[in-house]
Amino acid sequence: MRYSGFKVFTEGLFGNKGWKPAWRDPAPKAEYDAIIIGGGGHGLSTAYYLAKNHGLTNIAVLEKGYLGGGNVGRNTTIVRANYFLPGNSEFYSHSLKLWEGLEADLNYNVMHSQRGLINLFHSDGQRDAFARRGNAMVNQGDDAELLDRDGVRALLPYLDFEQTRFPIYGGLLHRRGGTARHDAVAWGYARGADQRGVDLIQNCEVTGIDVENGRVTGVQTTRGAIRAKKVGIVVAGRSSQVAAMAGLRLPIESHILQAFVTEGLKPVIDHVISFGMGHFYISQSDKGGLVFGGDLDFYASYAARGNLPMVEHVMEAGMTLMPMIGRAKVLRSWGGIMDMSPDGSPVIDRTGIDGLYIDCGWNYGGFKAVPASGWCMAHLMATDQPHEVARRFTLNRFATGDLLDEEGTGSQHNLH
């Protein structure tokens, strides 16, 4: 079924009785050409592009819970292409271009909103670093504008510019940055993959990976064994557990990142604002809730809920930046399990076992990457060659020293 304004109108006239489920609920077959483990954003987009770009349709996505129940439905939805390092820069640039055509491509409203992202700076040194980043973004073909204090004031008059600790000197504006509706991205890719014949199998946990003579032959699941010559591991925070089923030990440590949302308010914050010095960022959802977050809880955890010291820290940072939000009531907070890599950049690569591929290490930046990650993982699984824009995301770069450490904080998983 194609969605359209006309369809919404006619359904409205006839009691909305004509809507159909957006995807099937098939039983797993005994064998597929390819299996993707994990029905998050990256798994679903991988399946979609395998079918769309490479014509592979006898494939399945195996999800242990429900589609979109992981990080893809827990993040704060910032979409941007403001990376600095060659290797990251072209990848996120490619991803943003895919975002810009995504709704038309999927025939699905993912509510992609390019409302502009502003990264604030608070010293001369930080301004120089941001100017340099902005130049790198422009050289990559993306957009960046350096705003002075008055420039920021014109857009965000409600910030506390004179706070004693971090007075605001200006900001780097990325107009094509913004947000999207996270669940809709998962659902849109799921529907698109299903329409092309991909089996989306929920409540199906992978419990083992079968390897014979250095080749993958299939997986064991809670819904039986399934054979496949190609298997992609795309499980974000659970990467270490699933990779261990094939005897791999990954450069990943799992950490919790929290997020918060307030009650719905009238439109007040028109952009995405990031206050790096305070570890705080914020935007306003279309429902009116202020959506904001901060830094990791800092210690390895699979609890999918956060600790109170970080709640306090985030609230303090928010009050420092924009005291006007102090009377908004926080409705909910939650956490997601982040696959932190030692340089803060991801992996899309082969594994040393023939036919077994891995896509992981997204840290807390993997939502914006959903389109390009799926695009590149599909390319890798279909052709056995890395995609041009993801060629630096190798698993062995830690051994060779070819790191992509965007923040320059060194090989410690929780510092990125």
Partner: protein, 92 residues
């Protein structure tokens, strides 16, 4: 989460700096192959369950601690001083 420092007693999580897995105590010998250093610095078992990791009592006694705890429930099972742990492994 609170940690019971063997020297200072039960303290708030905010007093401690988190470093990472206790793999850091198994530093390869001088001259070990590059692969051993890669494994030591980057690769982790990253268990969902019981783990042992290193914390520094920054706002307390300034000792490194090896904490045995559960990464799913956040239960803390044991807190030991690192110095004797490292010595037991044959390092001074």
């Amino acid at each position: 989460m609170r940690l019971t420092c063997p020297l200072c007693g039960e303290r708030d999580r905010r007093e401690f700096y988190y470093y990472g897995s206790d793999d850091y105590l198994r530093r390869p010998a001088e001259g070990a192959p590059a692969a051993a250093w890669d494994d030591y610095l980057h690769n982790r078992d990253n268990p969902a369950g019981e783990t042992r990791d290193l914390w520094y009592h920054e706002a307390g006694c300034g000792q490194w601690l090896a904490v045995t705890r559960n990464t799913v429930t956040h239960a803390v099972l044991a807190v030991d001083l690192v110095a004797p742990v490292a010595q037991k492994r044959g390092r001074k």
